[in-house]
């Protein structure tokens, strides 16, 4: 292995929160197959908290482990707390990543943030527009 920690191996072999959320409150997709990794994060928000987080990832062992770890770290946190999950924190929680895999932790944090942003931008539209009610109904 590219010298992965036991924690990375655990999250790779037993990834938490794999999957999609039906009618998610936010979706964040980063990366692409050309650069080798692609992650999609789905979030469900309840009372400003991440009630559920799921992901799908195409990529190396580190990409999968990072996705799993990010999802676990984010779940239950408030949106503001979750937005403060940095690549460094993710790598630390995973007990380190090989140098050439640092970008995976970047991607993971980015994907989560994108999902949060997605949720927030939708919220803004909701607050400002009359589709308010229609959306609420659809999202429940």
């Amino acid at each position: 292995m590219p010298a992965y920690s036991a924690k990375v191996m655990d999250h790779f072999m037993n990834p938490r929160n794999v999957g999609e959320i039906e009618n998610p409150d936010g979706v964040g997709e980063v990366g692409n197959p050309v650069c080798g990794d692609m992650m999609t994060f789905y979030i469900k928000v309840q009372d400003n908290r991440l009630e559920d987080v799921k992901f799908k990832t195409f990529g190396c062992g580190a990409a999968i482990a990072v996705s799993s770890m990010v999802s676990e770290m984010a779940k239950g946190k408030t949106l503001d707390e979750a937005a403060r999950i940095t690549p460094k924190l993710v790598a630390e929680e995973l007990e380190g990543l090989p140098k050439q895999k640092f970008h995976c932790s970047n991607l993971g944090a980015q994907a989560l943030n994108k999902a949060i942003e997605d949720y927030r931008s939708k919220q803004k539209k909701v607050a400002g527009g009359k589709e308010n009610e229609r959306q609420k109904t659809r999202r429940r």
């Binding site: 590219p2 790779f12 990794d37 992650m39 195409f58 190396c60």
Partner: protein, 395 residues
């Protein structure tokens, strides 16, 4: 746990007889071959015997064999040494787009040194068209290097035809035979090349010994300057045990080649046929027929190579993905891209490379563990879910 080594393209196990031949030189017979005393004599004779064995393997003369530390060194030596020795004649070099990085990056270094470089393309099977080589030749072309077979997809290149063209034009032709020498018949006269690289750890010899064969009369500059070892072409105390091992491995390879090839190709053929039958969306890479016997290479769509390697490893199976072993992970193999595959598909490359120790049981094990691994990673893959949704008629 069942352990199945199917990464013989990265390095082979060392045959017991090869190890046995090496042991004295890690013990009592530790002398330096350049030295003028009996320890030196014993070491020198061992090196010269190995030179004979390697020369025999490829049909060369003993004075034409230069021992190196690896296939990589042989290739660096060839590309840089042959080009530099002829730079007064011209500064243009031609290599194929699918060369091993030790050739490709050496050629790029030549570019930094003022040479011009032409990359010859390949078709979808990874085959170089000799006519493309012909078209690439210029008045100032001094060196062409086309590999004998590609290590990732196994495709054999039409070296004979290319050699006819380079000979016509009086251009030196090197071939990287690291993936073929000791595995399939390699005869320098038959091929018609001027220089040829090989490495012992590809045919059950030890790491640490390779060779470059350079035809008599072809000039080459040393890569390693210093003493006058190897006829002044490669300085440094010879790695006697590894060279002895290389020689022994060459002898055994020559004697046993047909049997080995038959055994290996039989296993490989089953995998090449069965894997795509058991798993959907699998692309066989490389040439359908003209490929080295041990190579079964695929791209598994929608998923990425490293994660497959890791799950296969958890099932005891050792393989490699594209050029994972020599490139920064995550970059898709330059070989597959040159063959026209998309990055998306190239990321899912997987190379099973068979060796003489493999058995039918190994193939069956792979055929058993692969489908659930692929299924599991596809379930995780956003690309796969997109594909499924798209084929169901959209989101």
């Amino acid at each position: 746990m069942i352990k199945v080594y199917l990464d013989n393209a990265s390095t082979t196990p060392i045959l017991p007889a090869v190890k046995e031949a090496m042991l004295p030189y890690l013990g009592e017979d530790f002398g330096n071959p350049s030295c003028i005393h009996s320890w030196g004599d014993v070491a020198r004779e061992a090196v010269e015997t190995a030179r004979e064995q390697v020369a025999q393997l490829i049909g060369g003369n003993i004075e034409e064999i230069v021992f190196t530390s690896s296939g990589t060194e042989s290739n660096n030596f060839a590309i840089k040494g042959l080009a530099l020795a002829q730079q007064n004649k011209g500064k243009h070099v031609v290599v194929s787009a699918i060369e091993h990085f030790s050739v490709l990056h050496s050629a790029k270094t030549l570019e930094k040194w003022g040479f011009e470089l032409t990359l010859v393309p390949v078709d979808k099977y990874g085959v170089v068209d000799p006519d493309d080589v012909r078209k690439s030749l210029r008045k100032d072309t001094v060196l062409v290097s086309i590999m004998h077979a590609n290590n990732e997809v196994g495709t054999l290149e039409p070296i004979r035809e290319i050699a006819r063209i380079t000979r016509e034009h009086g251009v030196v032709l090197h071939t990287d035979a690291v993936a073929t020498a000791g595995t399939v018949p390699v005869d320098i006269k038959d091929l018609g090349v001027d220089a040829l690289s090989l490495a012992g750890n590809q045919f059950y010899g030890p790491k640490g010994a390779g060779a470059l064969w350079v035809k008599r009369g072809v000039r080459i500059m040393p890569l390693l300057d210093g003493g006058v070892q190897e006829g002044g072409r490669r300085a440094g105390t010879e790695n006697v045990p590894a060279i002895v091992g290389l020689g022994k491995a060459a002898e055994l390879a020559k004697a046993d080649m047909t049997r080995r090839t038959e055994h290996i190709a039989r296993l490989r053929d089953r995998l090449l046929k069965e894997l795509p039958a058991r798993i959907e969306h699998v692309v066989v890479t490389g040439h359908p027929q003209d490929r080295i016997p041990g190579n079964a290479s695929f791209c598994i769509e929608f998923i990425e190579g490293e994660s497959m390697l890791m799950l296969l490893n958890s099932q005891g199976v050792a393989v490699t993905s594209g050029s994972a072993c020599t490139s920064r992970a995550l970059l898709a193999s330059h070989v597959l891209i040159a063959m026209g595959l998309s990055h998306e598909i190239a990321q899912g490359s997987l190379l099973f490379s068979f060796g003489i120790d493999n058995t039918s049981a190994d193939v069956e094990h792979v055929l058993e563990v692969m489908p659930p691994i692929v299924e599991r990673l596809r379930q995780m893959s956003p690309l796969y879910s997109k594909f499924i949704k798209a084929s169901k008629g959209g989101k």
